[in-house]
């Protein structure tokens, strides 16, 4: 086991280190949602929405559910 002495660094030094590595990128804030079918009791779609841009990302969709079958077939 190696005991590594610490080196206390400043904010500027830390930022330089983080830039040298793959560090410090901004993440994204999301809210999450679902659509449910009362008849089958199943969740038929899961999605998230980027809070900053409003972009919706579908995480799961039950293409066998009537909701999507209808839309796929153009019944609406």
């Amino acid at each position: 086991m190696e005991e590594i002495p610490i080196k206390i660094i400043t904010k500027e030094e830390m930022e330089k280190i983080l830039k040298e590595g793959d560090l410090g990128k901004a993440g994204t804030m999301f809210g999450y949602g679902v659509i449910g079918n009362k008849k089958t009791g199943k969740i038929v779609e899961k999605f998230k929405i980027n809070r900053m841009t409003g972009e919706k990302t579908i995480l799961f969709r039950d293409l066998e559910d009537e909701m999507f079958k209808k839309k796929k077939g153009g019944a609406e």
Binding site: M1, E2, E3, I4, P5, I6, K7, I8, I9, T10, K11, E13, M14, I17, L18, E20, G21, D22, L23, G24, K25, A26, G27, T28, M29, F30, G31, Y32, G33, V34, I35, G36, N37, K38, K39, I43, V44, K46, K48, I49, R51, G54, K56, L59, M67, K70
Partner: protein
């Protein structure tokens, strides 16, 4: 029918998913949050089981710079309903002034036939700080929606008692780190003194009191020698990972093994924890709060 639900809790378990746990109660500000959303979603509840769900919280033993609770707001719509809804949720202070905006008019499309329902949930946490919870009182969470299926304002009163002082130390003290008694102390980026109480290990030597280092063994923990000459180990550390909750790095962060031993007080993503580079070259986090990835204690 449309309705909203408010859940204010100390932490959550992902229900039926990967058993990911996230706790806010007594943890450092803005710790990264694992994937928690992909659980079994239940109408009127969302995808979680809630730990420490309540409307009244006793902050005895708290320090400024620790998180308290998270507010999850759910919006529910039943079909048939077609259009766009706009959602709002807030934390409000003891004087009913806006303290923090969570959802702020975020839009959602509704294309629900009869027999279908839709829910959306957004969460935001609160901690002890001069700009968040800083005095005893009745705070509140508030939500509403406009547009299709509009829902009127709904408030839930949240009481905080035994709130600690949030006064800050002088700027010049930021970044100080020292051993006091057998504890590791430091002044974080928000200028609060934080005390890390370690797990005692074996006796070393009182002549070495105050030594601080990072262990290169399994776990890459931060260690120090207390005034009693014993070696102490930080109670927890976590390798940086991408948070699904708020801004932060997008994954594990590699600075390079040449940077091992570097340590700093974070003033980027939480302002209350320590960051350091271990001998594997990766960034780790530790702090005075509790470990965030287990049930509240």
């Amino acid at each position: 029918m449309s309705y909203m639900y408010h859940k204010v809790c100390q932490g959550i378990d992902q229900d039926g998913g990967s058993n990911n746990i996230m706790t806010w109660w007594k943890t450092n500000f803005n710790m990264p949050v694992p994937e928690i959303w992909n659980g079994n979603w239940v109408e009127g509840r969302g995808p979680f089981t809630y730990n420490g769900l309540g409307t009244s919280f006793n902050l005895s033993g708290f320090y400024p710079g620790w998180e308290l609770v998270a507010f999850f707001c759910g919006w529910h719509w039943d079909g048939p309903l077609y259009g766009t809804a706009y959602m709002y949720s807030q934390w409000r202070d003891e004087n009913n002034n806006l303290m923090f905006t969570c959802a702020n008019g975020n839009s959602i499309s509704l294309n629900l036939d009869s027999g279908y329902w839709q829910e959306y949930m957004y969460g935001c946490n609160q901690g002890v700080a001069g700009w968040e919870v800083d005095v005893v009182g009745n705070y509140r969470v508030r939500s509403w929606s406009t547009g299709t299926g509009a829902m009127g304002q709904q408030d839930t009163i949240i009481t905080f008692s035994n709130v600690p002082s949030t006064s800050q130390l002088p700027t010049s003290t930021k970044g100080y780190i020292w051993v006091e008694g057998n504890n590791l102390c430091f002044v974080n980026a928000n200028r609060w003194k934080h005390i890390m109480i370690g797990n005692q290990e074996s006796y070393v030597d009182t002549a070495k009191k105050g030594y601080i280092w990072i262990d290169s063994g399994t776990g890459y923990t931060l260690k120090w020698i207390g005034n009693d000459g014993y070696r102490y180990r930080c109670k927890w550390n976590i390798k940086q990972f991408a948070s699904t909750w708020s801004n932060g790095p997008t994954g594990p962060t590699f600075a390079g093994t040449s940077k091992k031993g570097y340590i700093w007080i974070d003033d980027e993503f939480g302002w209350t924890h320590l960051g350091y580079i271990a001998s594997d070259g990766y960034k780790y986090l530790t702090g005075s709060g509790n470990y965030p990835y287990q049930a509240p204690y």
